[in-house]
C-alpha cells in the first residue's frame, strides 16, 4: 500500500489535534508515515501510532527553532525523498501552508490549501475546499507531481487505529537558505486554559454589540460554561476589545465547530467567511434585520446583556 506523509504539528512533543485528524484522512489514501521535527519530536510517536502512523520519522536540530520555516522544508523534503509517498498532508496553519508550498515547488508538485475533506480518487486524492467566503464548495486535485495538500482543523474525526509507529531518525542536511531568516526571540502566547479557537467543538464569539473590552467577561463566562473557545469579530478586535489572535473571519481564523454562538455580531461577509461552515449556528442580536440571522439555526432578537448571562446561568443550572 502506498505511503502518505503526514507533517506533525506539535508543541514539545504534545501532538495537536489537527494532526490526528490528518491521520484519519491519510488512512483513506494509504499508510500514514508521520514526520515530527524539533524538540520533543520522538515523544509524539506513541499518540501517532495509536492513530494509525506506521512509521514516525523524527529529526531534531537547533535550526528548527532558530530559523523560520525553511529548515522544516528541508526536513520534509528529506522525508519525501526517503519515502516517495503518494501524497503529503500538512495541517493548514500559517506555517504549515508555507512549508507545504515551498516543498511543492521543490518537488515539482501542485499544492491545494485549506481542504475541508479528502477522499481517495481514481486520479489521486480529491480535496473539498470552501471558496468565496464559503458560499461555494469545490472539488480539486493535484494534477502534476505528488499531491501536497494542507487540511483545515475539524475536517475529519480523530479515530483510534493502532499501528506500529516505529520511530526512525530522519537524516536532514540544511541548505543555504535554511538560515536566511533568524528568529531572534519568541514569546509564547499566554494560555487562557480554553480550547484552541480553530480546534474547539464550540466557539462563543462577541462583536460590536459587546461594546467594550470590559464586557467580554460575559462572553468568556458563557464560553466557560460550555467548555468553548472565545472568538471576536473584526469590529471588536479593531476596537481593541479582544486580541487579534481570537479574530474570526476572512483576515482572522476560520472556524468550523459543532456549535457557533455569535453575540452582538451583525454577520458581515468578512465574518461569515470565517464561520459559516459551522454545523449549528446560534445568534443573539438586538437588530432583527442583522444578516447573521440568515445563517442561524436558532436566533434570539434581544439585548445580549440580558440574554447571554441568563443563558450562562441556565447552562450552569442544567449541568448542575
Amino acid at each position: 500500500m502506498a505511503e502518505v506523509l503526514v507533517y506533525v504539528d506539535h508543541v514539545d512533543g504534545a501532538v495537536r489535534k489537527p494532526t490526528l485528524e490528518l491521520l484519519t484522512l491519510a488512512r483513506r489514501i494509504g499508510e500514514p508515515v508521520a514526520v515530527a521535527l524539533g524538540a520533543g519530536a520522538a515523544d509524539t510517536a506513541a499518540v501517532l501510532a495509536e492513530h494509525g502512523a506506521v512509521k514516525v520519522l523524527t529529526a531534531d536540530a537547533p535550526e528548527f527553532a532558530e530559523y523560520l520555516v525553511v529548515p522544516k522544508v528541508d526536513a520534509l523534503q528529506a522525508a519525501y525523498e526517503a519515502v516517495s509517498p503518494a501524497a503529503v498532508l500538512v495541517p493548514s496553519s500559517a506555517e504549515g501552508k508555507e512549508i507545504a508550498a515551498r516543498l511543492a515547488l521543490r518537488i515539482g508538485s501542485g499544492i491545494i490549501t485549506d481542504a475541508v475533506d479528502l477522499e481517495a480518487g481514481d486520479e489521486g486524492p480529491v480535496a473539498t475546499q470552501s471558496a468565496f467566503a464559503a458560499s461555494f464548495t469545490t472539488k480539486s486535485r493535484v494534477s502534476k507531481g505528488t499531491p501536497v495538500i494542507t487540511v483545515k482543523p475539524n475536517s475529519a474525526p480523530v479515530e483510534a487505529a493502532p499501528a506500529a509507529g516505529a520511530v526512525e531518525a530522519l537524516a536532514v542536511t540544511f541548505g543555504a537558505l535554511a538560515t536566511g531568516t533568524k528568529v531572534t526571540s519568541r514569546t509564547p502566547r499566554e494560555s487562557t486554559g480554553r480550547p484552541e479557537l480553530t480546534e474547539a467543538a464550540i466557539v462563543v464569539s462577541g462583536g460590536r454589540g459587546v461594546n467594550g473590552a470590559e464586557n467580554f467577561g460575559i462572553i468568556e463566562a458563557l464560553a466557560d460554561s460550555l467548555g468553548a473557545a472565545v472568538g471576536a469579530s473584526r469590529a471588536a478586535v479593531d476596537a481593541g476589545w479582544y486580541p487579534h489572535s481570537n479574530q474570526v473571519g476572512q483576515t482572522g481564523k476560520s472556524v468550523s465547530p459543532q456549535l457557533y454562538i455569535a453575540s452582538g455580531i451583525s454577520g458581515a461577509i468578512q465574518h461569515r467567511a470565517g464561520m459559516q461552515t459551522s454545523k449549528t449556528i446560534v445568534a443573539i442580536n438586538k437588530d432583527a434585520e442583522a444578516p447573521i440571522f440568515d445563517l442561524v439555526d436558532y436566533g434570539v432578537v434581544g439585548d445580549l446583556f440580558q440574554v447571554v448571562p441568563q443563558l450562562t446561568e441556565e447552562i450552569k443550572a442544567r449541568k448542575g
Binding site: E95, A104, S143, K182, T184, D297, Q306
Partner: protein, 261 residues
Amino acid sequence: MSLRIVVCVKYVPDATGDRHFADDLTVDRDDVDGLLSELDEYAVEQALQIAEEADDAEITVLTVGPEDAKDALRKALSMGADKAVHVEDDDLHGSDVIGTSLVLAKAIEKAGYDLVVTGMASTDGTMGVLPALLAERLGVPQVTLLSEVKVEDGTVTGRRDGDAASEQLEASLPAVVSVTDQSGEARYPSFKGIMAAKKKPVESWDLSDLDIEAEEVGLENAYTVVDSAAQRPARTAGTIVKDEGEGGKQLAEFLAGQKFI
C-alpha cells in the same frame, strides 16, 4: 544607493459582490466589480512607510492580471507608489499559484529589487502561500506575516504573531516580506495623489518579455485541477425568537435539545 521595493498586488472581485465561478471553473472576473485586494493595501502602506524612512527609495507596484487589473495599480500609485508594472498575457488565464509565482518572480527579477512586499493573502484565492513561493523561487529570505516591519541598514526586522508564539524575525536584504492587516491602517489616496498617479509610468510586459513559455502557465498547464464547484445550499431558515425576558432560557432549551448541554 536607492532601496528598490517591489510591491506585489492583486486585482480581485469585490468580496461584497456576488462572487462566483466562470464556466471553466476559474474565478469569474467579468460579472463582479474588481478592486485592489484590501489585504494588499496594507502591503502598499508598509512599503510607503519603509520608503519614507529610507534616504532614497523607489516603489514599483507589480500585478499579473487582465486589462482591468490596471485599476489596482492606479490605486497603489495614487497612494504614493512611484511606478507600476502590469504583466498581461492571454496565455496567463487560469494560472494556479505555481504558475503565478513563476511570473511574479521573473517580473520581480526583471524590475530589480532589494525588498519585495506583499499582503498576507489574496481576498479571492485566500491561500496565503505566494510570499513563501516567491522567496523560494528568488532564493532570498522569507520574512512573512509581519504585524510590524522595519528596514534599516540592509536588514529587515519584524514581528510575526503566530498561534503558539509571537516571534521577532531578522533577515538581510534582499528579502520577501508579507504584512498582515494588523500592520497599520492603509492611507487613503489624496486628491493630489490621484492626480499625480495619472502621470506615473505603467509598463506592460507579456510572457515573452519575461522569457516564459506559454506551456509553463495558464489553466491547461496548472498543477491543480478544479473538477467541480457548487454553490453551498442556503442554510435552512432557523427559529428566531424575540426576547421577552426568557430568551436565554429558550436558547438553553434549544441547545439542550441539540445535546450541547
